[in-house]
Every structure is written in structure tokens, then in C-alpha cells.
């Protein structure tokens, strides 16, 4: 009987996964064909199957603006979704997300230092030949990496995941304070630059950055799939997991590393994209009533890609010259969704009860 149930749930899972993949492909096409500049759909399709289209600037817009942005949206959505899932399981907390350990605060601090002290650093960077677009990426990367090291050290020392969570929150508070002090002593234009960074942006990556961004995220996603089995064991409770022969400390550090690399890279390149990573795992669990990460992980990856493409399409305000910041859109459309789930499920602890 158990076998039968497993079979039927597997079928349901494959059909949902296939739907998610198809939806992702469809929204991908919609996403690249909509934007401030209206380009007829047949020309968009023509361009992407390799035919040349007459309007040269449209061809450039499609391959240099819309394609990179859509690819970024896909990767950002999957990366944030999967790291949120991992953090929720690791901390057995429905409110955990990719940034719970202070990754985005660390990145934010790095960026704040780079922007507010930018003038002093700028000269050095020009000498070393690092381009401007890499300045913020490197600053955010270094910031989140430092936080990651401290958290990992704490993870080695501590037995308890909740303590780790609190340490992460403390880091967030402390770095936030330093950022506000820096802001206080900064010029208006620098504060504006920082605020714009904190809005998040999917469209500012060009191919030269994507060459680095794509492989890192793909490796992170692959590692996440491989970690699924460990996550399942963790879900049974830490004591139970270690009795199953799982090296708890090593698993915890691997998960933290994986999440930090995914969330840290996303934050470094696109700014902190809030909310998404917290909400998405709940949506996936609700759609497919399972806590099995072997099934959940691929689902979260594709649903993340699909939803981020949808949000980005909304943010583009097709037909208008202006755009909305992606962060506003994810929270604006994501929050009602989560409220809906909460009202429907009444209780989210289901996923963590062993």
C-alpha cells in the first residue's frame, strides 16, 4: 500500500514538475517579448531561432537587454527559492530565508563601504584595472563571504541551530547600524546610489557579468539537489539524523556554504531581493504536499524561475517607458500570496514536525 501511495505521488510530482517547466518556458518567451519598447512577437521568435531581423536596434535590445535579464531572473528565482528552502529546513523555522544568516546584511555593508568611501577606493581600483561594475559585485561578495566565515566558525562551535539563527540576526542588526552611520556621514548622491542598489535590479547584468554569474549559480543549484537527501534526514530531527549516521556538523556547514554562495552571489550581482526566498518554499510545499526534499528541490528551482520571470514582466510595465524596482514587485505580489497560504493551511508547522 505504501508502495502504491508512493507511485501515485510520484506521478503527481512528475506532472507538476512538467507543468512548472512548461510554464517557465512560456513565461520566458513572454518575458523577452514584452518590455518598454514594443517589438512584434514574430520578430522576437525570428531573432531567437537565429534569423536576422531588419531592425538592428531591436536585435540588440533582444540579445543584449532582454535575454540577459530573463536569464538573470530565472537564476535569481531558483537560487533564492532553493536557499530559502534549505534554511527553513535547517532551522526548522517557517520564517527563515536565504538572508536569515546575515548574508544580505554583509553584502549591504560591503556595498555601503564601497559606495560611501568609493572615492578613496576608486583610484585604487582604476589602477588595478577592475571595472566599475565589478566594484559593487566584489564589495558585496567580500561582505557576504566574511559573514559566511564567521557563521561557519560559529556553526563548528555550536551544537544548536537556533543559536546560529540568533547570531545571524545579531550580525544583521550590527551591520545595519554601521550602514546607517556611514549613510549619516555621506553625501546625498551616494546615499541615493546605495538606495538604488538596495532596490535590487535584474537588468543591470550584461553578458560580461553573466559569464561569471551563470556557472556559479548552476553549480550551487546542482549542489542543492545533491544535498536534498541530507535535508530529508535533518527534517527528522537532529538527534534522529545523527543516529542515522549523518555527520551533523558537516551537513550543517555544507548547507550554510551552499546557501551563502547562492544568496551571496545573487545579492552581489542584483542587490538584496527580499521576500522571495521566504515565500517560495511555502508555495511549493502547499502545491505538492510533501516535505521530501528530493521532490521539493527541483520543484522549487523551476517554480522560482517561473515566478521571478512573472514578477520581472510585471516590473517592466510593458508599454511604459518607466520600470518598477523588482523588490517592490516581489513583495507586493508575494505578500498576499503568503497570507493566502497561511489562511488556507492555518498552520505552517506541518513541514517541520517529525
Amino acid at each position: 500500500m505504501i508502495q502504491q501511495q508512493f507511485e501515485s505521488s510520484r506521478k503527481k510530482w512528475s506532472s507538476i514538475l512538467i507543468i512548472a517547466i512548461l510554464l517557465t518556458i512560456a513565461t520566458f518567451i513572454i518575458n523577452v517579448s514584452l518590455g518598454s519598447v514594443s517589438i512584434p512577437l514574430d520578430l522576437v521568435l525570428k531573432h531567437f531561432i537565429g534569423l536576422t531581423i531588419d531592425n538592428e536596434s531591436w536585435a540588440l535590445i533582444l540579445s543584449n537587454f532582454r535575454l540577459p535579464k530573463a536569464l538573470t531572473a530565472i537564476l535569481v528565482g531558483s537560487a533564492l527559492g532553493i536557499s530559502g528552502l534549505q534554511m527553513q529546513t535547517l532551522f526548522r523555522n517557517a520564517l527563515a530565508g536565504p538572508y536569515i544568516l546575515g548574508i544580505s546584511s554583509g553584502a549591504g555593508l560591503g556595498v555601503a563601504i564601497a559606495i560611501f568611501l568609493g572615492f578613496y577606493v576608486g583610484g585604487f581600483l582604476e589602477l588595478s584595472g577592475i571595472g566599475r561594475s565589478w566594484l559593487l559585485v566584489c564589495a558585496a561578495g567580500v561582505g557576504s563571504f566574511l559573514i559566511l566565515i564567521v557563521i561557519s566558525l560559529a556553526a563548528i562551535r555550536l551544537k544548536d541551530s537556533v543559536t546560529l539563527l540568533i547570531i545571524g540576526l545579531m550580525f544583521g542588526a550590527a551591520t545595519g547600524a554601521i550602514v546607517s552611520i556611514l549613510q549619516f556621514f555621506s553625501q546625498a548622491e551616494n546615499i541615493q546610489a546605495y538606495v538604488i542598489w538596495s532596490f535590487g535590479s535584474l537588468g543591470s547584468l550584461s553578458w560580461s557579468e553573466l559569464i561569471v554569474f551563470i556557472p556559479i549559480i548552476l553549480i550551487g543549484l546542482l549542489a542543492s539537489l545533491l544535498l536534498s537527501k541530507h535535508l530529508n534526514a535533518l527534517l527528522l530531527g537532529e538527534n534522529y539524523a545523527s543516529s542515522l549516521g549523518l555527520n551533523l556538523k558537516r551537513t550543517r556547514i555544507l548547507i550554510i556554504l551552499n546557501t551563502s554562495i547562492l544568496a551571496g552571489t545573487v545579492t552581489a550581482f542584483c542587490g538584496p531581493i527580499a521576500f522571495f526566498g521566504v515565500a517560495l518554499p511555502h508555495v511549493a510545499r502547499m502545491l505538492f504536499n510533501t516535505t521530501n526534499h528530493l521532490l521539493l528541490s527541483p520543484l522549487v528551482i523551476f517554480m522560482g524561475a517561473f515566478l521571478m520571470l512573472v514578477f520581472d514582466t510585471i516590473a517592466q510595465l510593458p508599454g511604459f517607458e518607466a520600470t518598477l524596482p523588482i523588490n517592490a514587485v516581489t513583495a507586493l505580489f508575494g505578500a498576499p500570496f503568503v497570507i493566502f497560504i497561511l489562511l488556507k493551511k492555518k498552520n505552517l508547522n506541518y513541514s517541520y514536525q517529525s
Binding site: S57, W58, L60, A188, F199, G200, S206, G271
Partner: protein
Amino acid sequence: MNMTKSALLLLLSLWLLACEKKKPSENVDSNAINNHSASKFKISDNQLTVLEPWPGATSPKTYNFKSSPKKVIVTSTTHLPYLEMLGVGDQLVGFPGTSYISSEYFRERVATGEIKDIGNDGNLNIELIIGLQPDLVIAFDMGNESTTLDKIEESGIPVLYNADFLETSALGRAEWIRFFGALFNKQNKADSIFNNIAKSYDSLKTLAKSVSERPTVFSGVVYGDIWFLPGGENSAAAFYKDAGAAYIWESDSTSGWLEVSFESVFDKANDADYWVGISTFNTKEELISQDTRYGEFDAFQQDKIFTYSKRINPTGGYDYFETGYARPDLILADFISIFHPEILPDYDTYYYQKVE
């Protein structure tokens, strides 16, 4: 009963007060000196009226002066050129964020300690200001700094709101030198400086009117996902027009700034002839290292990018943002020599230079 009575009395006295306040300004109107293009201030005998002291202000602010101030504080680098041009720079005793000053004259006075730093911009340090004992603080309020300024006023130091940034025309903004002139008893000097600027602006404009072809132009860079562009009614757009160029967003009716997506700007401006004003970028290499897509613009490939980086001070400040507003004639001349070098063959640009 008693309550209503006193409330009525209060209302009545307020109304009387309001009436009394109105009267003198009506009288003054008759002998007010007319402005050329500025619309936010009014000069009359011993009285300066700022009509819209901050964005969205509903009532004007009036400042009565008996004698010209000996020790002043100004709060924006854009106020500095007026003092220097009028020859009253030695009366400046404090400035917030002295490292942003471009003017050599004022930098020297900062170095010798005659001008004290009174806090970072936006965060005026009240104790330092009071300690300097100025006769007057000339400030600006974008709409949220008023609490600090109110405190300065409470301490007995008069605060004068400079609203030059609310002027919609470049000449209107430059005319604020007359506001400073009235304050420092240098009316004639201020009038003649402004009249010369206005005259040279107008004659340059007439020169550029005769051009047969108007090259297309756009400006700015992208921040995050948003490209900020001056609206069609913005004073920046007026410069392009007066210099004989066709601004791509000319037909737009916004007087502020447009927030446009990168692909939209690329669609409209990728074949534009000129690209002017690229924020804090100083070289083509810097542009391309920020975003390789900048390289796809025709103006980039044909070396037709110009920016206001010719005069940068040792700490990285752009003189353009300090003295530019006071000298619209120089900006216009720069633009004309960029768009139509044949009109001003011997002219050497003041603020702008080609981006290499």
C-alpha cells in the same frame, strides 16, 4: 462659554495679525524691482521675499534687513559663486562639507581656517553654527531639513531660504545673484553681472538659431534599472534647444526628471549624434567597464560623448555643479561649440570636454 469666547478672540487676533502682515507687502509691491527671468524671489526696499521657500511651500517668507551681514554661512556649493562674483567671499565664515568646494579662493580660506566646516551636508551641526556667531544663515530646504533650520532661527540667527533650485529656467536661476546683491548691498554690481550673463546668453542663443541642421542629443547614465533623463521642459532640455540641438525627449512635457528603462533609451537614442553629461564617469573605459551595452550607442562608437569633467577639484568635486548654475552663458557656449563648432571656432570649452 468662556472657552468659545477665548477661541473667538484668538481667531480674531490671528485674523488681524494676518491682515497686518499682508499690508506692508502690498505697499512694497509698487516699488519692487522687476525680475528678468527669476520667479521665486522679489526684491524691494530693505526687504527680500522668497515666494516659494521650499518645494510646495504655500506662503512666502520675507526677510527684512537693516544692514548687510558681516558674517554669513551658506549651505550649498551653488551659493558660493554668487558670493565670490560679488566680492563678498571674505564674509563667509562657515560651510557644511568644505571638502566639496571647488573654488580655489574658498579652498584657500578653508585651509587658513577662515571658513569652518559646520558638518556634513544635510546634517548641519547647530552647536558649531551658533559658536560661529553668524549674522545670517543662507540655507536651502528640499522639504525635510526644516527642523534643523527652525532650531537655528530659534537661537536668534536669522535663516534665509534660498530657493534657486526651484527656478525652471537657467537664466532665472542665475538671476539669484541679484538676491545676494540686495543682501550684501551690492545691487548695482549684481545687476550688471547678471545683465552681462543674460545678454551673452541671449546673443549666443541668437547665433545658434540660424543653424540649418539640429543634431540629436541625449544625456545621463543608467542607475540600477533606471535611466534618469531631463524632461522636455527641464532647464537642461532648454540648453540643448538653445544650443541648436534636438533633444530626443524634446516633446515630453515634464519639467522634472524622467525615469526610463535602459532598453527604451537604447531604442530611441542608439543612433543619436551626441551624448552629453555622463554622471561621474570620466572615460569611455569607465563607461564600458560599468556596462558593456553603453558601447552599442553610435555616439560612443563615433567619439561624440561630452561631459562636465574638465574642471574637477582635488577632492573629486565637479566645478560644473558649483559654478555652472551661476554661469548659464558658459554652459550654453560649451554646448554650441560641441554641437556646432563652426559657430564658435576659437572658443575653448569651459566645463565640458570630450570623453576619451
